[in-house]
Symmetry: C2
Subunit: 265 residues, 2 copies
């Protein structure tokens, strides 16, 4: 499994180039101990990031309905110390939020130094939804994507590293997961009948996501994560996060006192 194979390069990415059912040549049984080890390493790097208090990491999760965003938060982000994590769930904008530019509510949730911020849905919804619903033409969408590029560059220059994940599921897998929500009473609350109308716009979303993937840069790359297999999704996202944190190389800060000279009464 080479991480670079899942990273979006250039502005003409096609989702069809990635196999939603990819398993990286591994079995679920082989993946389990690998994930456990990754989680330990991630927790160690997160502590360093928190201790250093100079950089931050912003994880953007996007997917179609039932694509696995919540599961990824639970399984991957769940391995981090909650003290240093803040998950932001962006829902349909409130009247107050709508009265501002689309990045206003997003900017307010940007992670402070030392923190890992997770956007469960994000500013990309403000391109995807209006584009697919025909409320915005491609030129207007391109303007928003330009705003996003500038915004992400600003964060990048200010110490925030951004990693963006598109969790890539097939139409068949989505159908199975939505059906599972209907079949299990304890999952009914997760089912939104409106999701079916969005499902019917499958190809429209494919095109809109491909437009979004064009914002992949070194400072804020997109990764397409084959997500039909949940265990592979968790493993790949964890690997990318560890790769990113290693590259950020957070250090325990130097202290301005001599630890050996201090006597505790």
């Amino acid at each position: 499994m080479k991480l670079g194979d899942y990273r979006v390069k250039g502005k003409r990415a096609r989702l069809g180039d990635w196999d939603t059912h990819d398993d990286g040549g591994l079995s679920k049984e082989e993946a389990q101990p690998l994930l456990a080890k990754l989680q330990e390493e991630l927790a160690d790097y997160q502590e360093r990031l928190y201790a250093e208090g100079r950089q931050s990491l912003l994880v953007v999760l996007q997917a179609r309905d039932a694509g696995g965003k919540d599961g990824t938060v639970k399984k991957v982000i769940g391995a981090f110390n909650p003290n240093g994590v803040r998950v932001s769930n962006f829902k349909v904008p409130t009247p107050e939020e709508k009265a501002h530019d689309f990045l206003w509510r997003i900017h307010a949730q940007a992670p402070r130094a030392g923190m890992v911020g997770v956007f469960n849905r994000s500013h990309y919804e403000d391109v995807l939804v209006p584009l697919v619903h025909g409320e915005m033409d491609e030129a207007a969408a391109e303007e928003r994507l330009k705003d996003i590029r500038h915004f992400e560059a600003l964060l990048g220059r200010s110490g925030t590293r951004i990693v963006k994940f598109y969790l890539h599921v097939s139409a068949d897998e989505q159908k199975e997961r939505l059906q599972a929500r209907l079949d299990d009473p304890s999952k009914h609350w997760k089912f939104n009948p409106g999701d079916l109308a969005e499902r019917a716009r499958w190809d429209g979303y494919t095109g809109a996501y491909e437009a979004c993937l064009g914002t992949s840069t070194d400072a804020a790359p997109w990764y397409v994560v084959p997500a039909d297999r949940k265990w592979f999704r968790d493993l790949l996202v964890s690997r990318v996060l560890l790769h990113t944190l290693k590259d950020m190389d957070p250090q325990y800060p130097a202290v301005d006192f001599d630890p050996g000279a201090i006597v505790i009464e």
Copy 2:
């Protein structure tokens, strides 16, 4: 281990009435499987709380330095789904925060419906610190405590259940933990030389905490958690949280569609 024994009743609680080294008659080995089972139950109740979306839980953590607040967040809160948790760390107030009343920044972090909010330090610091440092007399502290009672009652009537924990460590245990931070380079960043000045005010803090414990009510009880043994602290806090969530009794919401009648194309 009876939870009621650790719950503060009345306005005259004395910390000396609880043994910091209490183990509830258990060994660490016996506690481990109990904690694991509690964590599963907590995760289940948290999902119900999130799904229901009507009530919220606010966990207040207070302790002396090295009392175990961060460890409790990591071990106990770490078992929750990060999607439904928000930890707020209250540090020394910024100039902007100081320009407002002391509850302004606190109120802004109150958990929304469906969420578990964790205050790692809290509004009680605004009584403890000025009281111990002689910047506020007892009458002024009593006024603030009255403000706090009103504020907590407001949250309580608005669907937020509050549980407040004082993590109770001995002076010897604090000394050991502070020394451990000096001895391990990867923990130096956690050591603040200023903590020694606070340690010297041990009895002052005892009295100030006892004043704070007077705000224990049915809707916002204080629990004194013997915390010299970390495993006992985690077990007791988890038990109290589960007890509280069971009492809140969150329910999966009814849906306004017929799951059996929906066909996914």
